[in-house]
Subunit: 478 residues, 2 copies
């Protein structure tokens, strides 16, 4: 029975065999999502939503520390409003859902369900901002948005997803630029410190930037399979939207000026990143800081006298951490496999012999390492192990990324790397879109970003051989 | 200048003159909402959203203490899914928004934006629940819903609003009934302890119950103008939805059984209740527990030496409360009026003379009462005043409600009260819908609830004179 159970829980495709199937198996078997009758939309189950709640809480705290205020705008955008900024409507109109009827009546003007809310915030700011005293506005909202994707995958690409979208308005171009950068660093620090995911910070090329933006900054992470995941973006709009929407203020000299705007967003896609950066063949591996359950106490031979009581006592002593106890009547093998599948960072086991010896066994989810610890040290040791695990996971992910980051100085090397070595490719670029198009068409590789930390790898563009302007990270992406 | 400013901030319609206009003035001038170009939908601004965040945080904590887990379901409901439960679709179909196109294509089946998510949770539970081991499911989601209302008012009735909706599935009818009641009491306690709003707990009549429910429980609050506001509802579905959706589990004896379900919700309407129960002619009055800013420190003659420094010191000493300092260059009169309009519970003033005397002045928003307090007692006294104010506000609202609750034992009294005395009317009822219909048609008065705490006021129905079955709270409602 125990063995069968264990096998049943553990039965997921191995990463090496089929990474995409492994991913799907993990999101389902770890209880993160359920499928629904609504095509392309998922149900986020408690284990998945609890991860999102932790992400929200920590990001929101970091936002507020920089002066962000939360608001809520309508979920609908009248068609005429969506159309006010030319590039923006071209970028989003093909992938929105349209509401045409309210109750029993056809609407006079159809409305889309927000794919993003620049137009709504602009409409709002146009009404709210009159004077320099009304600036800056540094607003954010937590909500869901809809984009009518043809192919969907849980967390990575779905027709509806949860996110936050910050929208700010500033008196000067410089202030808007600084806020765009500031938020990108908030995102990057959050990924590294909280999710243990190292990221490349940089700027998108013209081709890859957001519809309507002057500049888009991005953080790019490398998944275990060597594909890139855009994990957060921050856009500087300059005064483009302000001109389209007429958002003006009177400055201290009583002159009319356009505001300068930014927007920035992170989504439930981050949960996909956590899975694909840290997971293994036993399932999910959650960094301690984001894990809804950090410690699970598992009694062994719990029918024996005193075991459950002692396990309960240990459980209570671990109250400083997010701790659970598994005192179900399942066999220990099943409980271990289940806790592993769900990615719980630390497991504390104890059975009759341990109790007799006044000890417990602590197992780490990421390395599988087990240590025997005197019972009265359990709180301290669990705390140390959680901290160590958090930093080890970041370092391991960084090492994996660095080992899968390649340099190409000519097109032959570039092609060879793109075809044979999954990972990032660092290469010089002339700045011309034609080269990006060629690389994408021939190799399905896109420019991920022009990193802030530029390096001089060669004098010429890796694609066309003309003088290089920028070092770019390239990769296949989700 | 100071006087003009003060007047400008304060210029709202008085409650006595026009309560509806007073309400609109307060929501706008206190910065709670902004109007948008999306008809019937509002923008919730930082001051409004911060109230909602406090409500969410406290309710969520209380939910989780009863074993609730958060999830997220899609915002769309395919038409065929909405139609599965007969009463439910009849109740909601006339007021939903329909999505007919995704991107450039017409959908094969149109979908509505959720007006509530019973059907989605049922569809989900049907897939997720197999065995008694899968029960109970006690799930909740925080989201927005859409109902295509013709007439809208900020917070009270808008086409899109924010809420939480709990949806549970249980093995037995008794467990479902108990959960329905438990959540109603969670709601009632929350309103009384956190929002300082006293409520009547009771059951809706057949006429007023939720579409598809076996029984609907409700909490009803009385606004300052004597109108009732339904402030939270909890529904027992029995096995009605389970039969419509085929949600079955195998029990311990391996027999197939239908689950029993509940749902319960509270919305941003609560913010409207807070405004209409506690507000006054100077604006919003927020109970300390829900107030985003509990204390505001206002320096007087702040250009004088040492004033700003001392104010800053006091501000820092009040770090245990949600405190702000208003060190803008506006005049004190403006600052006072602004703080009053925004409903900040406690104001701490200090000027050069106070500093010399080693004192500050503490003013309470609800009573206007001012006390002079030695500086070194400021933390303690502010804490005491906040606590006192919280409980005084509840008692004052209770006294107002009790003073506006009338008894009618015959139809003449009932009509006289309904026409002349805004408030609740307690009266006996035969249980027949015809009497409810008559009362509604003739007096625009509806049955608010059959309170759990029944009283015997008379032997006969206040409307038809036949034997009475229930004591009912009646009233005009928002």
């Amino acid at each position: 029975m125990a063995k069968d159970n264990k096998k049943m829980v553990r039965e997921i495709t191995s990463m090496a065999e089929d990474f995409a199937q492994w991913y799907t198996d993990v999101v389902v078997k770890a209880g993160l999502i359920g499928y629904t009758s609504v095509k392309g939309c998922m149900a986020i189950k408690p284990a998945g939503y609890a991860i999102w709640e932790n992400i929200q809480q920590e990001l929101d705290r970091r936002f507020k520390a920089t002066g962000v205020q939360n608001v809520y705008m309508p979920m609908f955008i009248p068609e005429s409003l969506l159309q006010k900024e030319k590039d923006h409507v071209e970028g989003f109109a093909p992938e929105v859902a349209w509401v045409t009827h309210g109750g029993l009546n056809e609407l006079q003007e159809r409305m889309c369900v927000r794919p993003t809310s620049e137009t709504l915030f602009c409409d709002f700011y146009q009404k709210e901002i009159q004077s320099y005293r009304d600036l800056p506005k540094v607003y954010n909202q937590w909500c869901s948005v809809v984009r009518w994707e043809k192919e969907t995958r849980p967390f990575l690409r779905s027709r509806e997803f949860l996110w936050q979208e910050g929208h700010t308005a500033h008196a000067t171009a410089e202030e808007a630029r600084a806020r765009t950068e500031q938020m990108l660093h908030v995102y990057a620090d959050f990924c590294e410190e909280f999710l243990a995911i190292p990221v490349i910070r940089g700027q998108k090329t013209e081709k890859e930037k957001f519809a309507g933006a002057e500049a888009t900054y991005t953080i790019e992470a490398l998944m275990h399979d060597g594909k890139a995941l855009q994990s957060g973006t921050s856009h500087n709009f300059g005064d483009g939207f302000a001109r389209a929407f007429g958002i003006q203020y009177t400055d201290k000299e009583n002159k009319l000026q356009y505001v300068h705007q930014t927007s920035w967003g992170m989504t439930t896609r981050l949960i996909g990143a956590v899975i694909m950066v840290h997971g293994d063949d036993s399932g999910l591996v959650l960094p301690p800081r984001v894990a809804p359950t950090q410690v699970i106490v598992i009694p062994i031979a719990q029918h024996k006298e005193g075991v459950l009581e002692k396990a309960q006592e240990i459980y209570e002593r671990l109250g400083a951490y997010r701790t659970k106890i598994d005192d179900t009547d399942n066999k220990p093998g099943w409980k271990f496999a289940e806790a592993e599948m769900r990615g719980i960072p630390v497991r504390v086991e104890l059975g009759p012999k341990d109790i007799e010896a006044g000890q417990v066994i602590i197992a780490r989810r990421d390395t599988g390492e087990k240590v025997t610890v005197p019972m009265d040290e359990v709180e301290v040791r669990v705390g140390q192990i959680l901290e160590q695990m958090q930093s080890d996971m970041l370092e391991r992910a960084r090492a994996h990324r660095d080992a899968h980051t390649y340099v190409a100085t000519n097109y032959e090397e570039f092609v060879d790397t793109a075809v044979n070595k999954p990972g990032f490719i660092k290469a010089m670029w002339c700045g011309d879109r034609a080269c990006e198009d060629k690389i994408k068409e021939e190799l399905a590789v896109t420019s991920r970003c022009m990193p802030f930390a530029q390096e001089h790898l060669a004098d010429t563009c890796v694609c066309c051989g003309r003088p290089a302007k920028k070092m770019v990270y390239w990769g296949k992406a989700y």
